[in-house]
Amino acid sequence: MVDNKAFMIKSGWMLGLFSLIGIGLVSLTHSFTHQQIAENERLFVLKNLHELVPNALHDNDLLADTLHVSDAKAFGKQQDVTLYRATKNGQLVALIAAPTAPDGYNGSIKLLVAIKENGELIGVRAVAHHETPGLGDAIDTNKSGWVYAFNGRSLSDPDVKHWRVKRDGGDFDQFTGATITPRAVVKMVLKTLQYYQANQDKLAKTHG
């Protein structure tokens, strides 16, 4: 019995020791990579934002001037939407929203929706999605130019009734064999535009 107990204690120490070594290794790696990782993530977001609102249009740090809104009524399902404000000389020139369309064919689709200060769309990008390769992934700019159809559109172009895919009687093309994906994207872009229209004054205010 005593032997057994001693053995268990020894094994316990052994496991503890290896846990410590493991923690040590991971902490060490973390300590010399975490800055690089944070920088990578920052640059990645910035690259996506600058594709929509080029550097020449604004003079602020897009990543520093952000808002987080949680407006279940505007964006449907409860979600935290990050808004990036692009300003020039303190004036709002564009707003980039990062909503997630929850109803893609394969889960949610993360979007970037850039809106000019006057409510006109600059453009839309799908930044992360799991849509079917060859069908739904045509929302990706690498695969097709479908998202460019949003450029220059606004709440009055087309009117709200036609802010749907053609299959549903709207103005936007669906893809052959994939209606669910574009439908989800169109719906979320419309919601974002409506949110912007409803909160325009609040969003234009300078702060910070």
Binding site: K10, G22, P133, G134, L135
Partner: protein, 227 residues
């Protein structure tokens, strides 16, 4: 103890983790849709195998058999987490593509399989070579399957090479078939299963051909080591 040459041959061919042992199929099937994805995951897996085999071999006399599995799991998980952080820091875009499959290396049973079947019984150098051989064998499988699926599925080879080798490699993409419409099945998961099946069949045919000249001798069936 096997000779080093035997260990290498074992990992690359006779006991290839993907084609013979059929281990680690989840990452193999999920990530092998292009050559570069396959290569990226293959290298990460190889690195993990070498390091985990080395450490397991190093502590094999200290760790009693009762607690060896949790200790191996701890070792492997720590190594994979460290590799994940390093990839996240230095190969960020490739990391975005391989995404969840890097942490999933932990669940690649061929790693704990080699720790248990080889590294816990053999000296360190032999264990490292075994890790290298098994990893290379797995990488080859990923790359071959990736190449087949990429050519069939999208008509290219080495697409996205810049994610791994830097901007200079952007032109490495070979358009095998111009204006190719794409063959969706090859890119989707069923294509992975069918492709793997065909490759295993091909390997068996080659093995049979190789065995023919010495048919007089006793037929030796190589029992894959179960992990």
């Amino acid at each position: 103890m096997d000779s080093y040459k035997q260990i290498l041959k074992n990992g690359l061919w006779d006991n290839n983790q993907a084609f013979v042992a059929l281990l680690g199929l989840c990452p193999l099937l999920a990530v092998s849709n292009t050559v570069i994805n396959g290569l990226g995951l293959g290298i990460a897996t190889t690195l993990t195998l070498i390091l985990s085999n080395a450490v397991v071999s190093l502590v094999r006399h200290q760790v009693g058999s009762e607690i060896r599995l949790p200790v191996f799991v701890l070792i492997i998980a720590s190594i994979v987490t460290a590799i994940e952080l390093i990839m996240n820091a230095f190969f960020y875009e490739l990391y975005l593509i391989l995404g969840i499959f890097i942490p999933l290396i932990v669940t690649n049973c061929s790693i704990i399989g080699r720790a248990e079947a080889f590294a816990s019984k053999n000296p360190m150098l032999a264990s490292c070579i075994d890790g290298l051989a098994m990893g290379l064998g797995f990488t080859c499988a990923l790359v071959i399957l990736g190449a087949a699926r990429e050519v069939l599925g999208s008509g290219t080879l080495f697409a996205n090479a810049h994610l791994m080798f830097g901007e200079a490699a952007r032109d490495m993409t070979i358009y095998v078939i111009n204006d190719y419409e794409g063959f969706l099945l090859a890119i989707l998961p069923p294509g992975a299963f069918i492709g793997l099946g065909l490759l295993i069949a091909l390997k068996n045919v080659i093995d049979k051909r190789l065995a023919k000249p010495s048919q007089q001798a006793v037929t030796v069936t190589l029992e894959p080591k179960k992990a």
